[in-house]
Symmetry: C2
Subunit: 193 residues, 2 copies
């Protein structure tokens, strides 16, 4: 499988030279997921850091009443990891599952940490991945507070149309913070226009 997308991604997000990026990429192993396979299961410790080259993944957990809530969608050409479990070795509160067939490259915590320790430029990459995830969550939280469901729906269609192509509507609904009934209403209104 072609590691070029991975190398490009690292290159664009760290100050490392091309040669160092190539060395780093060597440590990643190819992997594949069938539709509905789990990359991470609730209650287990996350051991892998994944770069997704093909497909779509979804993170979800359960609220106090046992309802499934989609907490995130991971499009391709992005890193997929659950920071809390991966970096602190705590049991994960979340599941990460393949929505479609997925392909990518993984690296274990031990190897990644070795690289962070031996390659200062790569540490920047690790930090950036965390900061980015953080920023996205902040924006989402802000949108939940300040925007109407309709606007959040429009924003998601605009920013990640592929999600609507592959994910189930009830999963998208809980990601948007609404019920599937409400999402259905919104879709109806939009199809009228």
């Amino acid at each position: 499988m072609d590691k070029e997308p991975l190398r490009n991604y690292i290159q664009h997000n760290s100050p490392a030279s091309r040669q160092i990026v190539e060395t780093i990429a060597e440590y990643f192993e190819p992997c594949e997921f069938a539709k509905n396979d789990f990359f991470l299961k609730e209650g287990k410790v996350s051991t892998d850091y994944l770069f997704l080259t093909e497909g779509l993944m979804r993170a979800f957990s359960f609220d106090t009443e046992g309802n499934e809530v989609t907490t995130y969608f991971y499009p391709k050409n992005r890193m997929v990891f659950e920071a809390a479990s991966f970096f602190t070795h705590a049991n994960s509160a979340e599941n990460i599952q393949a929505v479609t067939v997925c392909k990518g490259f993984t690296i274990t915590f031990e190897k990644l940490n070795e690289l962070f320790h031996s390659i200062p430029e790569f540490r920047e990459f690790g930090r950036l991945m965390l900061v980015r995830g953080f920023v996205e969550f902040k924006q989402r939280t802000l949108a939940l507070i300040t925007k109407r469901a309709e606007e959040r729906y429009k924003d998601l269609i605009k920013s990640n149309p592929e999600i609507f192509q592959y994910a189930q509507l009830k999963h998208i609904a809980s990601y948007l913070g609404i019920t599937d009934t409400s999402l259905s209403r919104l879709r109806k209104e939009f199809s009228k226009r």
Copy 2:
């Protein structure tokens, strides 16, 4: 001013030895804020990483209609920093302001980075601070989706009662994702019981 709370905090959140912690703490400078002083202003690059020993701070930004939205409250004995701006040197989208008189210790990005590079154990600390902030935001986002305003209100009183002691209700309201009118109603219902 007494640096002991800072040393304890670093000690509890990194694998560094006491001696190393003491060295690290030397790099932090004492600082104070009058009520309403800004630690960080929107549009500026955040240059400091702050450990708050006294007081309460608040992060806020504005939505598209120009309404102020409180995005976070920082209680004492915690690190205060805006990850996106501090670590990527981008202009901050947020403001961080002292709700009460505040005291603490700051370190600049350059010095902090020096420490991260020279003290591997301290890197764990930096990573943990990011991961923790991330986890908290995720939980808050989940609560916004799955819980009623009333429950979010109860949770906040339980976890951070000091916020209700010092912050304005309209700021707490926007943090909870409701209007000040609704918060007022909730308070009324609770005072009945």
